[in-house]
C-alpha cells in the first residue's frame, strides 16, 4: 500500500501543530517563518526535545547536523521533507 506524499505545506503545518502542542501554545499562533527560539522562548535543548517528537511523528531519523543553525519552522520543514 502506498501513501500519497505530503506537500511541503502539509509538513510545515504538522510541525507547527506539533510545536504548539509540545510547548502549550494555542494552535494558530505559530507561523512558518517564526524564529522558534524567539517565538517560543526556548533554548537549544528544548529544540532537541521538539526534534525527537517530530522524528516520531514522521517516522524518520534526522541527524543533528541537519538542524544545525536552523531557527525557523519553514527551513526545518524543508529539511524534514527531504527525508520523507
Amino acid at each position: 500500500m502506498t501513501y500519497p506524499m505530503r506537500t511541503i505545506d502539509q509538513t510545515t503545518q504538522e510541525i507547527l501543530d506539533l510545536a504548539s502542542k509540545h510547548f502549550n501554545v494555542p494552535a494558530g499562533t505559530l507561523a512558518p517563518d517564526d524564529d522558534f527560539f524567539k517565538k517560543l522562548g526556548i533554548d537549544s535543548l528544548q529544540t532537541l526535545e521538539l526534534l525527537s517528537r517530530i522524528e516520531n511523528h514522521f517516522n524518520i531519523e534526522l541527524p543533528d547536523y541537519e538542524v544545525q543553525g536552523v531557527s525557523d519552522f519553514r527551513t526545518l520543514a524543508s529539511r524534514i521533507q527531504s527525508r520523507l
Binding site: D35, F37, K38, D43, S44, L45, L48, E49, L51, S52, E61, P63, D64, Y65, E66, Q68, G69, S71
Partner: protein
C-alpha cells in the same frame, strides 16, 4: 597522584598509554540505540597508524598546524592523537560555528591540514570563505559517501595501510601543543596557544581530585574542542586507561539512556543541560503518590545528613537506589563547567547523592583554576585552587571583591599573533581573568560578576560584543554599539547575562516599528545564543578616538548614568 614528569609532550604520554592499556576498552561510539564502534587501546593505535603515515608522507612536519572540525566521535580523538604523534599543533574548532566563521579561524590559525566530517565539509566547501585559507594543503573528510566529488578533499578512511610503523615526532614541554579559540569570530580572534606542559600539569592536578582508571567510563557530551571535554573526555581518561563514550545524537532521551547502558562514571555538562536534568527529575518526583513522596523526601533528608561532611557514594546509591539506577548506578560525579551554575541546582544533585564537581576556569588558564573538592561540598562557591595554582585577588573593594589573577604552569603562553593583547592579559606571569571574586575564610573562591565586556551563556559560550556587531552594520542609524548589560550596570551576579544594542539615531529620526523589525531581523541572523536581548536608546554622540573608533569604556561610563530597567527596551 599521577606522575607525568617523565613526559615532554602529549604525544609521548598518549603513545605510552596506548601500549600500557592495550587490552582495555578506550572508545565506544553509539548512534541512538545502535553501538557503532568499540575499540581497545591497541585497536585505537592500529587505526591511528595509517593516518599518521599518510600525514607524515604529506610533508606534515613538527609544529605544523592541523585543525579538527568534527562532532564528538572516535575519529576526532584518533585524528587528534595522530596530530600530536606527528609533532603537530592541534587547532580544535567549534563545529557549531557557521562555515564563514570556521574559515576565518582556519585562516587565522594558519592550519595546513583540516580534518572534518562530510556534512560539515559539504557546507565548508560551498562557503566563499574558503578562498581565504591559502595555507590549507590537505583536507581529510570522514564518512563521505562513495562516488562523491569531495571538492579537493580526501577521504579520511582512505589512508593506506602500511607495514612501516610511523615514529613519534618529539616535542618539548614549552612548545605549543594546541591553539584553542576562546572567542573572536567576528572581531579579533583570540587563539590561546597552549603548551604541552599546560596539559600535562592540568591533567595531574585534575586527576588528583577526580581520578580515572581502567573500567571508568566518561560520557563525552560537551564538544571536544571545548577545553573541559578535551581534558576530561580525551587526555585524562586516555592517560589513565579509562573509556570514553561518544554519542552521535545528543537528543536528551539518548543521553539519558547512555548513563544506564554504559554505567557512566563521569560526565561533563554545561549548566543549561544540568538544569534541564534537574527539571526532569523534579517533575518525576512531583508525580510520586503522596505516600511514596513522603518516604522519598525522608530518604533524601537522611542522605543529606549523612553526606554533610563528604560524599558517601555507596551509601547514597543504597538509599536512593532508583535515582542512581537511572544514572547507571556507578556515577561518581557530574563535572559542570563552561559557565556559572546556580547553587540551588548544585545542591539539588548533591542532596540526591550525586556530587557535582563545580569549578571555575577559562581556556587561557588551561581549563580549571578552582574545583570543589567536596570536603565538604559547597554549593555557594567554585571551590579551592587546584594543586599548582596560585590565585590572588587584586584591588579588592570594601567587601574584598576584586579581579581574580592566576599564575600556574597551566596558563597559556599567549594569544596567537597578538603580542599586545598577550602583554595586557598576562602581566609578570599573572593571568588577568577579568572576573571578579573573593576568597572566603575556608579558602573557597566566590565569583561576583565580571570586569570585562562579555557574557557567558548557560551553554558555556563566551560571547564578546565585538563578535556580533557586524551583523547590525546595515542599520540606517547614526551609530551603534553592543555591550554586555552587566558591563554597563554591574550586578555582582553571573546569572542571566545579556547583550544589549545601544543605538544613536540620526537627528529627527525615531525608533519606529519598521526600525525595530529591521533590528529583530538582523538579530535573528545571529546564532540564537549570540543574539542581543534589548535596545538602549542613547541621544548623544558616542565618544571616539582620533582614529574614530568608539571609546567603549567611556561610552559605558556615560550609559551607566541611565536607569537600567528604564533604559533597556526588550527586543
Amino acid at each position: 597522584m599521577l606522575d607525568l614528569a617523565k613526559y615532554q609532550s602529549i604525544g609521548a604520554a598518549l603513545e605510552d598509554a596506548l601500549d600500557q592499556f592495550a587490552k582495555e576498552i578506550c572508545l565506544i561510539e553509539s548512534d541512538r540505540e545502535r553501538e557503532k564502534d568499540r575499540l581497545t587501546y591497541q585497536e585505537f593505535k592500529e587505526r591511528a597508524q595509517p593516518l599518521a603515515r599518510a600525514l607524515q608522507d604529506s610533508n606534515f612536519r613538527a609544529a605544523d598546524r592541523a585543525a579538527i572540525i568534527m562532532t564528538n566521535q572516535s575519529k576526532w580523538l584518533i585524528s587528534a592523537y595522530v596530530i600530536f604523534f606527528c609533532g603537530g599543533v592541534l587547532v580544535p574548532l567549534d563545529y557549531k560555528l557557521t562555515p564563514d566563521e570556521q574559515w576565518q579561524l582556519l585562516t587565522h590559525s594558519g592550519a595546513s591540514v583540516l580534518i572534518t566530517e562530510y556534512p560539515i565539509w559539504r557546507q565548508l566547501a560551498a562557503s566563499a570563505g574558503r578562498a581565504s585559507a591559502t595555507n590549507l594543503r590537505t583536507i581529510l573528510v570522514t564518512e563521505a559517501p562513495s562516488n562523491i566529488d569531495l571538492a579537493g578533499a580526501h577521504r579520511w578512511e582512505d589512508a593506506p595501510a602500511n607495514n612501516v610503523a610511523p615514529t613519534l615526532v618529539p616535542r618539548t614541554r614549552k612548545e605549543v601543543a594546541t591553539i584553542v579559540y576562546s572567542s573572536g569570530t567576528g572581531g579579533r580572534p583570540k587563539g590561546c596557544m597552549m603548551t604541552h606542559e599546560n596539559y600535562l600539569e592540568q591533567c595531574v592536578a585534575l586527576t588528583s581530585l577526580y581520578p580515572f582508571a581502567p573500567g571508568f567510563r566518561y560520557l563525552s557530551v560537551l564538544p571536544t574542542n571545548h577545553a573541559i571535554d578535551f581534558m576530561v573526555g580525551f587526555f585524562g581518561p586516555f592517560i589513565c586507561g579509562a573509556t570514553v563514550v561518544h554519542l552521535r545524537t545528543l537528543r536528551p532521551e539518548f543521553v539519558r539512556d547512555a548513563f544506564a547502558k554504559y554505567r557512566i562514571t563521569y560526565v561533563s555538562l554545561v549548566p543549561l543541560v544540568l538544569k534541564n536534568l534537574q527539571k526532569g527529575l523534579q517533575a518525576r518526583f512531583d508525580e510520586l503518590p503522596p505516600g511514596k513522596r513522603k518516604i522519598f523526601n525522608a530518604l533524601v533528608a537522611v542522605n543529606k545528613a549523612l553526606t554533610k561532611s563528604q560524599p558517601r557514594l555507596g551509601l547514597s546509591r543504597g538509599l536512593l537506589k532508583q535515582v542512581h539506577a537511572g544514572f547507571g548506578g556507578e556515577l561518581r560525579a557530574i563535572i559542570v563547567g563552561g559557565a556559572f551554575t546556580e547553587p540551588q541546582t548544585l545542591q539539588f544533585f548533591y542532596d540526591l547523592g550525586i556530587p557535582v564537581a563545580n569549578g571555575y576556569g577559562l581556556t587561557e588558564a588551561g581549563t580549571a583554576i578552582t574545583v570543589n573538592d567536596l570536603h565538604p561540598f559547597r554549593a555557594d562557591t567554585v571551590g579551592k585552587p587546584l594543586p599548582g595554582m596560585e590565585v590572588r585577588i587584586v584591588a579588592p573593594d570594601k567587601d574584598g571583591i576584586g579581579e581574580v589573577l592566576v599564575r600556574s604552569k597551566t596558563v597559556m603562553s599567549g594569544y596567537l599573533n597578538e603580542p599586545e593583547l598577550t602583554a595586557e592579559t598576562i602581566v609578570d606571569g599573572w593571568l588577568k581573568t577579568g572576573d571578579l571574586g573573593r576568597f572566603d575564610s575556608a579558602g573557597h573562591l566566590q565569583l561576583f560578576g565580571r570586569k570585562k565586556n562579555m557574557i557567558v551563556t548557560e551553554e558555556g559560550k563566551n560571547i564578546y560584543p565585538e563578535d556580533v556587531e557586524a551583523v547590525f552594520d546595515s542599520l540606517p542609524i547614526k551609530e551603534f554599539c553592543v555591550f554586555a548589560a552587566n558591563y554597563i550596570w554591574p550586578q555582582r551576579s553571573l546569572v542571566g547575562e545579556q547583550l544589549v544594542l545601544v543605538i544613536h539615531l540620526e537627528p529627527g529620526q525615531t525608533l519606529t516599528e519598521d526600525l525595530r523589525r529591521s533590528i529583530s531581523l538582523l538579530n535573528s541572523r545571529l546564532l540564537n545564543y549570540k543574539r542581543v536581548h534589548g535596545i538602549v536608546l542613547y541621544e548623544e554622540d558616542f565618544p571616539r578616538t582620533a582614529s574614530l573608533k568608539i571609546k567603549r569604556n567611556a561610552l559605558a561610563e556615560r550609559l551607566a548614568k541611565l536607569d537600567r530597567p528604564a533604559a533597556i527596551q526588550a527586543l
